[in-house]
Subunit: 294 residues, 2 copies
DNA sequence: ATCGAGTGATACCCGGAAGGCATCATGTTT
DNA sequence: AAACATGATGCCTTCCGGGTATCACTCGAT
């Protein structure tokens, strides 16, 4: 096998067609350069240069090998640059999981900021419920999650993205909309309710149950996606508790009513990631987004 | 700059994720391999492997660099192969000049034989008159010519491809065709003659002038291409001396009459090339075609 | 024809790089 | 706690690669 020095020597000689000048260009003397070329030719197994005691010429094989040598040198000089870019986080891949609800509001601005400051970082997006995001983060298939509590603070570091109030989604023209006041528990006693899945959307489920003693008899549907809920409300299947950002969905024939504030815990959305960061792009992204405490 | 050994070491470790096993695969001991990787990381300017005293893992930069390293090694191992192929003549480029007349007959079989025995040799064809071929061979723009004498035997080596008689092309139904005997000088005393260019087709011009004392008053056209001549004969513009292979052109309304043999020097077509062969593909082609004396 | 200049190859020497062996440091397993 | 596994380090030796001096050969000028 030949060496990069031999390749560089060959390229210099091939360009100068003169060992002395080539050696000067390489900051060395002529004799070792001659030997370099000899060794290279031996390693390649073909004459690359025809030396005629008066002038130097490329052979046919030499011309072909020159191209390969240039390609090798170019590749060899670029490889560390890309590696350093990736190590620094300025380049690479960021795999982000997000809940459907976060997609309406925070995801857009967040991606915009990342791609503006880190244009060479590729972003891979997956819509996943919180539980799936946590599994993805733990298995290393995900770098960053946009998820809701609870999650293990021993393993995950996190940054609160926003809190928002829950509202009640009702079909347009629904009697509750006429009240013009905050909705109370009593108002919902006989309303058909579209409820969150207790497994797929555990956070919302727990939150709602904590807020209102839900009459299970009233539950007409159990779904996991906010958009599905709002669509069902629009179809007059019932009313539903949704985060305030659901108003941004722009579904027609739905109104959103405030809930009695005393019991209305705001819902939270967090950016979460494992504490042992291995992806430099994540480290840099967290720093530029100001998510890291330190 | 790093070395190929370092790259090979890194690839081995990255694949084994174990310094000891990687070292064994590389037929060396573990300590120098550890140092190789350290030097490589220093040269690249980024951590490529995360060593954890228990297990070895690739970093993000390491994964990217691994790809580049594999590409480099593949390129480096292929480059000598292609160079050797070209040096041996089994691969490369053969630039062949040919006269229009040779195109009718010998060129096809010749190309067929070359491409059958040397399938990886690219062939570049140019139709050129003999003079242009000689210039091309001397300037190095051409490897092989299919041309007519004269050429300098000091500079060029050659191989006689074929000799053929000259014939007289006459329009169909021409009175001379009725004679049913060889054409003599006297028969042509009053015939309008389509003549070869004395500069562009010097060989034919000299040959014809040597054969028949051409009446310059009879010359109605001066052209350089055999096909043009035959076409003009078909158009009844006159008669013309052409090599026998012109019968293969398949131009309608033309007949070819034999010439008095005593004066009929055959015309020759030679393959010619400069004696100092630099293109290995040419050397090999000449050998497979049995053109070389030695 | 001869001599000098130019150019690549060779001979020889020396310093540093790379590999091997022995050993250390550290974390895991029993 | 002890034994084991594994990568890092220290030290020695060898060998590779560069430098200097010189040779061999060709070409051009006198």
């Amino acid at each position: 096998m030949f060496t990069f020095d031999q390749l560089a020597g060959f390229i210099a000689v091939a360009e100068e067609l003169h060992f002395g000048r080539a050696a000067e260009r390489l900051n060395m003397t002529q004799p070792p350069l001659s030997r370099q070329i000899q060794k290279l030719e031996k390693a390649v197994g073909a004459e690359l240069l025809e030396r005629d005691n008066r002038k130097v010429q490329l052979t046919a094989a030499g011309r072909a090998f020159l191209e390969e040598a240039r390609r090798l040198m170019a590749l060899a000089s670029r490889a560390p640059v890309t590696a350093r870019r990736i190590a620094s986080g300025r380049s690479g891949l960021l795999r982000i999981g997000f809940t459907a609800a976060s997609g309406f509001s925070i995801l857009g601005p967040l991606l915009e900021e990342i791609s503006a400051t880190l244009p060479d970082v590729d972003i891979d997006l997956q819509e996943l419920v919180t539980g799936e995001q946590i599994a993805g983060l733990l298995s290393g298939e995900l770098d960053l999650g946009l998820a809701r509590p609870p999650f293990d603070n021993e393993i995950f570091d996190s940054h609160l993205l926003y809190r928002e109030a829950m509202v009640l989604a009702v079909p347009s023209g629904h009697p509750l909309a006429e009240l013009n006041r905050d909705i109370t528990e009593k108002d919902l006693r006989d309303e058909p309710l579209i409820m969150h899945s207790s497994t797929q959307a555990r956070y919302f489920y727990d939150l709602v149950v904590r807020m209102f003693p839900v009459q299970h008899a009233n539950v007409v549907h159990t779904v996991s996606q906010i958009l599905t809920m709002v669509s069902l409300v629009a179809a007059k299947r019932g009313v539903a508790f949704v985060p305030h950002s659901a108003t941004l969905l722009g579904v027609h024939a739905v109104e959103f009513l405030p809930l009695e504030s005393s019991v209305n815990d705001p819902v939270e959305l967090h950016a979460i990631w494992t504490r042992n960061i291995t992806n430099p792009a994540l480290a840099l992204a967290l720093r530029t987004l100001d998510f890291q405490e330190n």
